[in-house]
Subunit: 309 residues, 2 copies
Amino acid sequence: MILTVTLNTALDITHRVPALRPHASHRVTEVIERPGGKGVNVARVLVALGHEVTVTGFAGGATGRVLRDRLAGTPGLVDALVEVTGATRRTVTVVEDRTGQVTCFNEPGPLIAPDEWAAFQERYEHLLGSAAAVALCGSLPPGVPVNAYAGLVRAARAADVPVLLDTGGEPLRRAVAARPDVIKPNADELAELTGAHEPVRAAQDARRRGARAVVASLGPEGLLATTSEGRWRATPPAPLAGHPTGAGDSVVAGLLSGLADHLPWPDRLVRATALSAATVAAPAAGEFDRRTYEELLGRVSVTELASAA
Amino acid sequence: MILTVTLNTALDITHRVPALRPHASHRVTEVIERPGGKGVNVARVLVALGHEVTVTGFAGGATGRVLRDRLAGTPGLVDALVEVTGATRRTVTVVEDRTGQVTCFNEPGPLIAPDEWAAFQERYEHLLGSAAAVALCGSLPPGVPVNAYAGLVRAARAADVPVLLDTGGEPLRRAVAARPDVIKPNADELAELTGAHEPVRAAQDARRRGARAVVASLGPEGLLATTSEGRWRATPPAPLAGHPTGAGDSVVAGLLSGLADHLPWPDRLVRATALSAATVAAPAAGEFDRRTYEELLGRVSVTELASAA
């Protein structure tokens, strides 16, 4: 199975309104509620691609119960979340009918107690025993040490499980030195990590800091992969209009799916790019459009770049 | 006991953000969650004033469970809500640190099934047997007939229980003819009901339509009461700065509290005006500031108006 870790799971609530008017009262015309947090989104895409997936991380409170009830209804997905006392956070996304534009309100996560963090680490090491690959995704809730991902990367490497890390800021900086197999920063996260704003140079620098491969997501310009086997740029045939929400999680799912299927790097990048573009094109934020995905698989272009100077 | 009816209860969520930026992503710095819906708010104020209160209406789903858990922790308040299959709605209020201004997103209520509505009516008639007064508050969830309040007013009058109605639009129009003891419209609701924009004239018209007494809440200008015993205007000593959220519910609580304590109309209006102003002045939306309330009790002015032409 593929293991995804979401330390800061969320109950994602989408509110549709005709138009957002600051300082007014709005009647919400449609409510969508679904399990969220980056690793949970990655798991949903992987399950849709036919993989067996286990999700772990933390869940608690009434919001955590709703999240777990929904996960229980997803075939192919195993819930190995650790129950905590604090309540799983909510995210509220307000979508305007008029423009399709979104405004998000993200609650902070629950405070994780030291014994809850210890219980998670034990659960994680046990799950690594049957994992073909693991993804560590998203922000850290309060109470989890800022070097958490460094320890989780080391545990995966000790268990010989390929590990992909998708986070930013200080948690990313601390974990890179533990030599994750892949990091997937966006342009901002990569610049923050390295101080370099030119992606090719920044990715090279991130590898020097410890990441074995860097797949930078550059929005509509696609992906830039810098690995020990070569460097590639993967781009969709044309920029697609739509919601960027979840596009990064689909990149992670595509990379993991290709890794689990033992594909070479260029084919993993095709899968990741097509999934990401099909997510942007989907009518519901964070879902992917399967027909678009299958059409794009044959139309993503992957170009090998000259080796670094 | 005093009975309050909230057919469309809510889990009220407040999100504090530094500033609201449309189409951006916001980190919420503080989350407050509490039971809501007008009748629930009225009950909370009544309990704080020392009354025994029973709340009824509908609650369901995970949000309904949270709401009921919170009510169970309020001494003096009895939960007689009817469990329904649909989920209790949420309201999300975004408060800006910078300006204190609020933006609200109100979910629609759950669909109430015919047997759930029938179960409520039975529960309500039973509760009337031990009620000193009843308040019918707020909007109707989907599935509840638009003439619902007319029936509930008639049942209260048949049981000889004084009934106060606080709603608007078509549910108010239908219920006025059933002769509620008191209606408490704001200026807009009163104008919509009567077609008259001058409050004194509009209140007189609302009495002709069936309301035995009309207490119109005119915002910072206080209250205008039109009854069979006389007409009064009650005003706070000075307009108070703050959140108007919940001020109308505090008026209802003040009127009911004075009714239950057998106070004459002018004293009921003093209580309602002081509570309303103390709610506007409270730091948390929908709470009232007890010291401000007690200070204002001696400083609200009530003026008797000449009898209607």
